[in-house]
């Protein structure tokens, strides 16, 4: 590389002048980022939903106090909270959350392992995409609960039924997410890869996969949402056999007992587990991913 020539002009005054000029222009044009502290960010992110939650619970309580509806039809927030506490005390709540999270987590991981290669194949291989693409989009629209009857006949009342339904819900989302991530790669990036002399493998690992990461990640997020929903649906319908006690089963049980407080409490738990997974696992990774690429909208920083 003929770089050694640079020392020759290192003390060229006109070069120094150009350097200063450029440095000045660079500092004028660079956009200064105003980073906000982690505490501030957390407060900004957490405070508004919590305030809203408190507000909603208060409104609910006020409604109960003023209208005084039948408690078996419209329980108050305190009844629901009581149902939660009693479920906790009888260890049913812990068992249900652990069982469901375990199934959801494991099912999601299997779905990623299956959906990712399918997505890559679809993205990079035109004939496969033409053949399989519409089917996969269709599967994404089809509610995965629809598979429950078939799954029961195939696998009986076992965990396999639950996992099957989770997979049918999550795999299409993950595969489609990866496909759209790959589709959205600016063509210049691939061209640069070619120009820089990347081999096929290098192109895939050093250019295509990292470039597709944001799209792939939103596919993963959607895949988790579908996995969690499918799991709940499956747990509500599939009861008995060697199936463990999950949140869906708890919901079903409360309904059988006509315990509306218990039903509402379980719904809230399902909701909170979903929110928690999003906040604790997905949101930080996504924020990091997008911020590093400058893709973060100003308001979300």
């Amino acid at each position: 590389m003929p770089l050694d020539t640079r020392t020759a002009t290192a003390h060229d005054p006109s070069h120094d002048e150009l350097r200063r000029l450029e440095a000045g222009l660079d500092s004028l044009q660079a956009v200064p980022e105003t980073p906000r502290g982690a505490v501030r960010r957390t407060v900004d992110g957490v405070l508004p939903p919590i305030l809203l939650l408190i507000g909603l619970a208060l409104a609910w309580q006020v409604y109960i106090l003023i209208v005084k509806p039948r408690p078996d039809l419209i329980p108050g927030p305190l009844d629901v909270f009581g149902a939660l506490v009693s479920a906790w005390n009888s260890d049913r709540l812990q068992l249900a959350v652990t069982t469901s999270l375990e199934r959801g987590g494991l099912g999601f991981i299997i779905a990623v392992a299956i959906g990712t290669p399918i997505g890559l194949l679809l993205a990079e291989c035109r004939p496969v995409r033409r053949a399989l693409g519409p089917l996969l989009s269709g599967l994404q629209v089809l509610p995965s609960v629809a598979w429950v009857p078939a799954a029961i006949i195939w696998f009986g009342l076992s965990d396999a039924t639950v996992y099957f339904v989770i997979l049918m819900g999550a795999v299409p989302s993950i595969a489609n997410g990866l496909v759209s991530g790959v589709d959205q790669i600016p063509p210049q990036l691939r061209r640069v890869g070619t120009v820089l002399g990347a081999s096929r493998l290098q192109m895939a690992t050093l250019v295509v996969l990292p470039a597709a990461l944001p799209g792939y990640f939103s596919g993963l997020k959607q895949g988790w949402a579908f996995a969690w929903r499918s799991l709940m649906a499956a747990e509500i319908i599939v009861i008995g056999g060697d199936i463990g006690f999950g949140l869906g089963s708890m919901l079903h049980q409360s309904r059988e007992l006509a315990d509306l407080s218990g039903v509402l409490a379980t719904i809230l738990v399902i909701l909170f587990v979903g929110i928690l997974v999003e906040l604790v696992i997905f949101a930080p990774i996504e924020r990091r991913l997008l911020r590093r690429r400058g893709l973060m909208a100003a308001g979300l920083r």
């Binding site: 770089l3 450029e22 222009l25 660079d26 044009q29 210049q188 120009v195 820089l196 002399g197």
Partner: protein, 261 residues
């Protein structure tokens, strides 16, 4: 080909060294469409700074892409004596998930530079474009001009004797572009690269080129060329550049007018 009676302009000197780039009876059409490039013959000497000038859609980028090996010619042949060429585009196209330094390092990696040398070389290359301090910044934190300089450093990292540039400064503001002209000229003089620079900006061509090729549109042909014998540094405001620009612009307009009929 015509020569002009300008002090700064002289007919093309015949090459004594073997040419860095040879284009022989090149033709290009897409599918059954009209001819995009027609019978292009070209010989570019090593170390020469050549500007390829023409109106939009005249096929100058196509010609560049063919020289780069990104597209195949329909007829004729292109030879780049040193093997492959480095290319720089209008869009810096830096990888957004890598820092400026890592972008340059990736080019070194793909060029087969061993891992332990990459960091140092990347830093040297960034220093060459006055960006030694920006190595840890990510592309979105850089201004357009800085990004384009990182892209320049990245194409120099390929260590190829020929550098092809496709309107690399077209999207920049005038002040930045002016500075980058100076920067590019300095880098060219220091590294001795053969540069083919595609532009639709007549003044840019007159400011930078040692040799300017004017292309006609539909089909793209090389209709005229100018060689600047005074190879010293010049500014875009200088009278020679203005005079040359006027002359080229006149002919460019004539070529464009032909398409009205």
């Amino acid at each position: 080909m015509s020569s002009l009676t300008n002090v700064a302009v002289a007919p093309t000197a015949t090459a004594l060294e073997p040419a860095a780039i040879t284009v022989d009876a090149l033709g290009k059409r897409y599918g059954t469409g009209p001819l995009v490039l027609d019978n292009i013959n070209l010989s570019i000497e090593p170390g020469q700074f050549v500007c390829l000038l023409g109106a939009s859609g005249c096929g100058k980028s196509t010609l560049l892409n063919i020289i780069a090996g990104l597209e195949k010619p329909t007829e004729g042949a292109v030879t780049v004596a040193s093997g492959k060429a480095a290319v720089m585009f209008q869009d810096a196209a830096l990888f957004p998930w890598l820092t400026a330094g890592r972008n340059v390092e990736l080019a070194l990696k793909l060029g087969g530079v061993p891992r332990k040398d990459r960091r140092g070389e990347a830093l040297e290359l960034l220093d060459l474009v006055n960006l030694a301090d920006a190595g840890d910044k990510r592309p979105h934190e850089l201004s357009g001009g800085m990004r384009q300089r990182v892209a320049l450093a990245r194409s120099l990292a390929q260590d190829r004797k020929v550098l092809l540039m496709d309107e690399p400064f077209a999207a920049l503001d005038a002040i930045t572009r002016d500075l980058l002209h100076e920067e590019l000229e300095r880098v060219w003089r220091q590294t001795g690269r053969t540069i083919v620079f595609v532009t639709h900006n007549v003044r840019e061509a007159a400011r930078l080129g040692e040799r300017i090729l004017l292309m006609s549109s539909r089909p793209g042909r090389i209709v005229n060329e100018w060689t600047i014998t005074d190879t010293g540094s010049r500014r875009i405001e200088s009278p020679e550049v203005a005079r040359l620009s006027d002359e080229i612009t006149d002919q460019l307009r004539q070529e464009i007018r032909r398409n009205a009929a």
